[in-house]
Symmetry: C2
Subunit: 443 residues, 2 copies
Amino acid sequence: MSKPTPLSGFPEWLPAQRMIEQNVVERIRTTFECYGFAPLETRAVEPLDQLLRKGETSKEVYVLRRLQEDPANRGDDSLGLHFDLTVPFARFVLENSGKLQFPFRRYQIQKVWRGERPQEGRYREFLQADIDVVDRDTLPFHYDTEMPLVIGDAFASLPIPPVTIMVNNRKVCEGFYRGLGLAAPDEVLRVVDRLERLGPEKVAALLVETAGATDAQAKACLELASISAGDASFVDAVRALGVADPLLDEGLEELVRVVDAGAEHAPGLIRAELKIARGLDYYTGTVYETQLRGYERFGSICSGGRYENLATAGNERFPGVGISIGVSRMLGLLFGQHALTISRSVPTCVVVALPTEELRPACDRIAQELRRRGINTEVAPAAAKFGKQIRFAERRGIPYVWFPGADGAADTVKDIRSGEQVEADAAGWQPPADDLVPLVSRG
Amino acid sequence: MSKPTPLSGFPEWLPAQRMIEQNVVERIRTTFECYGFAPLETRAVEPLDQLLRKGETSKEVYVLRRLQEDPANRGDDSLGLHFDLTVPFARFVLENSGKLQFPFRRYQIQKVWRGERPQEGRYREFLQADIDVVDRDTLPFHYDTEMPLVIGDAFASLPIPPVTIMVNNRKVCEGFYRGLGLAAPDEVLRVVDRLERLGPEKVAALLVETAGATDAQAKACLELASISAGDASFVDAVRALGVADPLLDEGLEELVRVVDAGAEHAPGLIRAELKIARGLDYYTGTVYETQLRGYERFGSICSGGRYENLATAGNERFPGVGISIGVSRMLGLLFGQHALTISRSVPTCVVVALPTEELRPACDRIAQELRRRGINTEVAPAAAKFGKQIRFAERRGIPYVWFPGADGAADTVKDIRSGEQVEADAAGWQPPADDLVPLVSRG
């Protein structure tokens, strides 16, 4: 066969990058567990009818068939790969509601797939890290304030630039549009959601054209979307637009709570950004997007919101709120800028040099002694000249080479960065803590 | 919509089981890294022509299409979900050979998919944990002896029954069949591979029928397959059958090395089992299967072998040896027997009780102080009666409830298992190490 080539939209990291990804996922997971979120994984596939409940995403779904399947036998039980982790989570909650304790807090770190045409920063397969809380019938609002704090802590644990979490509330938008006298607030929201891509003039024209707005109404919608503040002052700015509606009041009150909680927890983390709309249909209140500072033009790396009706079947209803870190998206951006590095490309800390092939069992015993004490160790692949064995370690960034002592002499270990070589005993030698495992840092 | 139901063949664990799985994967990963294997993940999809290179598995492949795709536009670039991690790894090595250091040791822990009809213990989606070593042109044999030792250590780190790794070598079988005068050793191997399911009589009949064996030859093949030993004594048993062939000699010598290394590393871990054949085409020498003691009738939970020609393109050739733990399969068996338990169903160690909703910010600060020191903490969902808040913790197995002191009194923390309640300071209190994170143990 010929040499294979990459598939567009399906990123694959080299081992050094995968070690960075693993380190990042580990830190995110530790933060999630610190807040009491329990881990969950759902299967990769969902019945198509589940995936298509919210029609907007239908074109992105990958559908499965068995290669040898009889086409005539394909029923309505067709399966597709999940395109996010919220829809499968809602399904899981409904399916297992009798076995779960509510409120149910879970995190979920898994690949998702979208069959869209690949473009810069858009993947067909990517890793997401989600947290959600759902409760039976009603979910207290304080969870909406907690979500961005957890995410803020997770990002703060990573060697990356600071983030800004931008928050809005659909009740603010919908109440405002209604108070303005607009009949189709959903359609207005969908148009305003395109503000970043289309710019204000085109959005104003579209609002008039497709959402039945007058020029003045369109202008007011754009004024609302331009409001942004790191504290509760956004309320005055909205009030100054002179629109009144009970839903608007409710939304403003909720949004103030999120912004205030953020200001107490981590000043500068959260901003009210009234242009944030989120394309997805299922959000009903708070919505979140997140910018990595210095990477604003690449869009959100972490988004989510409150959904009242996603997990609903018959008489059962589990409103929820959640937020999702786009791990692949974030790492793709940072790798692209060489903004993350790792101290070596393998987990190995020590290579045991091999004087002769006959001594392999003795070298294996040294390695095993080091491993027993948690020191990642390999034995050299072959009894080549020691210079070649040192280069084996060097090329991988492995810091230490261990030399078994000949004829009863003591073993020695060499730090191949400094050249320092000292006598050592495999039962007691310990590398400095910074050399024990590969270190991830800002590049 | 109506309440969703499970999909046959796509297992989903509840959070407590997922915590066990995560713990198990973490221990396996730690062992792999201890031996210097670097992590890798490949995309979930491969071009169909890659997946179908070894024709035997074609019926198991799930093929993908985009929901809105024009059927007329579907070219020969169709994609399928990978059914193991070895074929994608071989493809990755060929694609990235210029960027990798050889010998290349990697581990890979990912889901795989097989579109087969579900049956007991057979999943359509399951988690595998693989290690492989590949090198350019030739790969030293000592890696064949190392593989089962790594796997033995990985299993020994888990709270599960002991395992037996059963080893054979295709050169033994092929050389023996050739020495017997059989013309189609591959076909003989395929028939012998069905010994477990069909029994010796049917296999003997099939050997005569489809592999051109005489009754005596068939009998000799079955005698070879019946040989089993925990040490090198199997060599004498094979010699006693009176067949001579250079390939047989080579295979026996290799197999002795694997068994001897096992006996030194972990007595009782490895057995030569000459009936082990492995269905897959790509193995060329050593083959491994693994039984969990007490679960022998469920088949192998960890398999692999040496493959000389899987990663080959043009002039480049990367022979390898690898082994794969069937994580889902093993956990499915153990969960089915309630043989693994965890001390609680959430990561949370402490619930901070909420006297009134107004005190939530103060309770959040206590929680944050505990989290800062790595103690997983939740604040109670609502300011219910304390009895209800304690039951919230109890139902999840959370060991501690924290009571903020009223009116300047000290805080107290209650171990809700013993009822013991003591004064405590969030800046200094530490739970016993055994309570810090959920503990996994044999059930």
